[in-house]
């Protein structure tokens, strides 16, 4: 189920310093959010798609499907925003009368909706770039550089590792329950899910005690300190990231009629 994670390890950008990948995604995300300009959003969507799919050598079909993932939320959200109570019926593009009010879409609300649609997708494509090219262990090591408290980083490392262990356990319990017809009806399904969650929780607790012992056996001193891999920071890449941001700002200004 965690396909993003799989690609994070199998793409052609893994040798680039995680900090650069992190900055490229993060700074572009913030720039496009602040500029809030449709043309910039559109460019960011295209840029991120090109870098992720082409430079990262990921299958386009997968990327496309992934872009459809937030559509439920996005469509429901923008419909709610586009449809307003309209008093000035002259600007109405589409509408219905309901309880002596006009409910509909006018030019302004449509503009807001389209702008939002593009901005959200641009932001999503920045997030996907990070998710699809950077494993969580590397994101955690970048956060360590930014002086995120060690306790949080330790919790995140443990969480990441044991998500996979517990998922496997949950899957096995689910399989053995299905093999014994545990999901044959809604009622049984409830009970089976309940006992699955309980059993998983009890096991999680036991595992945490065992884990503590195994760490103690390796001279654990309260800190989950590990050796980070060495990477070279490329000045050229950092420059490129900054250059792209400047370019986006100029485009926004030009499009806004300021230049």
């Amino acid at each position: 189920m965690l396909h993003l994670d799989r690609y994070a390890y199998n793409n052609s950008l893994v040798h680039i310093h995680p900090l650069e990948r992190f900055l490229f995604s993060g700074v572009t995300l913030i720039t496009s959010l602040i500029l809030n300009c449709e043309v910039v959003s559109l460019l960011v969507i295209l840029l991120m798609a090109w870098v992720t799919v082409h430079k990262g050598s990921l299958p386009f079909r997968f990327y496309f499907k992934l872009m459809l993932l937030p559509m439920t939320f996005l469509l429901v959200g923008i419909i709610a925003i586009a449809v307003n109570i309209v008093q000035e019926t002259s600007t109405l593009l589409w509408g219905v009368n309901l309880f002596s009010m006009t409910i509909g879409i006018n030019y302004d609300s449509l503009y807001t909706a389209v702008n939002l649609f593009l901005r959200a997708l641009a932001a999503v494509s920045c997030l996907y770039f990070l998710s699809l090219t950077t494993p969580l262990t590397e994101i955690i090591s970048v956060l360590r550089r930014f002086k995120c408290p060690e306790l949080l980083l330790d919790l995140m490392s443990l969480t990441y590792r044991f998500i996979f262990v517990l998922l496997e356990t949950a899957e096995k319990i689910y399989t053995s329950q299905s093999a014994r017809l545990g999901y044959a009806s809604l009622r049984k399904g409830y009970q089976s899910t309940g006992s699955l969650a309980t059993s998983l929780f009890v096991r999680t607790y036991k595992r945490s005690l065992d884990l503590y012992n195994t760490l103690e056996a390796r001279c654990y001193n309260g800190k989950l300190e590990v050796l980070e891999q060495d990477y070279e920071v490329s000045k050229k890449n950092i420059f490129m990231i900054l250059f792209i941001q400047v370019l986006l700002v100029f485009i926004a200004l030009f499009y806004g009629g300021i230049i």
Binding site: M1, K172, S178, A179, R180, L181, A184, S195, L196
Partner: protein
């Protein structure tokens, strides 16, 4: 083909992550047999077995139960799983109820049986596996071997016609290994077809009366244990070692300790008998 209880025809399956697991696997499971399924890790054994209870659905190919094709709707799966039981390798993942009694009653209750019938089945399953004394114990209090027996009772209580075991003796101490293997023989005698996936060629050789060998997603060879384990080429190509008993027996034969025409011994007891009968007279 009324002797076949399950027919498997050309199963293909690929995991969501792209791993090709089955590539046209076909075989027939004959009624009443003791079948060992061998193959290296990654050969696709578990994937194949999960198809037999409809947990995985093949991309192409089909499975026939009593000659009728298995459909993947709720009712058909219910029927399949009530006939084919699966004892998983690690009892810890199979046991999820608080007490042994509740645990064993889970399957029969899901079959929709009456309360009395469920009770009778649980009592019988606990008795058959020899763990009646544990019935009120909480499952997490049990030893590994006891949990294994509970996980078997779990499935027995559903009274399946076919029983699948994935590595039933892994991590068991010799005493429980013996207990479980005897139980498997008993169950087979009461007319349950048994399929056992195992890494242990010694156990497979001594116990099975039919052996399936998997390699790269298909049954690459099947036959009697004698046929399979004397096929050196097959053993090498599938990374299997020769059973100990057979290895020693063949070494003795080829070094003239024993006459050539003796049929292969399958158990230690048979082997000892052969040795005694053919013992050299003089010192």
């Amino acid at each position: 083909m009324s002797a076949s209880i399950l027919q498997v025809q050309g199963l293909h399956y690929t995991y969501p992550d792209g791993t090709l697991a089955l590539r046209g696997l076909s075989t027939d499971i004959a009624r009443g047999k003791k079948i060992a399924l061998l193959g290296a890790n990654g050969a696709g054994k578990s994937t194949f077995l999960l198809h037999l209870i409809g947990i995985l659905k093949p991309f192409s190919g089909k499975i026939l139960l009593h000659g009728e094709e298995v459909k993947y709707n709720r009712k058909a799966l219910h029927n399949l799983r009530s006939k084919v039981g699966f004892v998983f390798q690690d009892p810890d993942t199979q046991l999820f109820s608080a007490s042994v009694w509740q645990e064993v009653s889970f399957g029969p209750i899901n079959l929709g049986l009456s309360k009395e019938e469920v009770k009778a089945r649980v009592i019988k399953a606990l008795d058959d596996t020899g763990i009646t004394s544990l019935k009120d114990k909480p499952t997490h209090f049990l030893s590994y071997g006891q949990k294994k027996l509970v996980s078997i009772a779990d499935i027995l209580a559903m009274e399946p016609e076919v029983l699948i075991f994935d590595e039933p003796t892994a991590s068991l101490d010799p005493r429980y290994t013996k207990h479980v293997m005897e139980l498997l023989d008993q169950l087979n005698q009461s007319n349950i077809t048994i399929i056992m996936a195992t890494h242990c060629v010694d156990i497979a050789y001594g116990w099975a009366d039919w052996v399936l060998v998997m390699k790269e997603g298909i049954i690459t060879k099947e036959g009697t244990p004698e046929e399979i384990f004397t096929n050196d080429q097959l053993l090498i190509s599938t990374n299997l070692s020769r059973p100990f008993l057979l290895e020693v027996f063949q070494e003795l034969s080829s070094n003239n300790y024993l006459p050539r025409n003796i049929s292969l011994p399958k158990k230690m007891a048979d082997f000892k008998k052969i040795l005694q009968e053919n013992a050299p007279k003089n010192k």
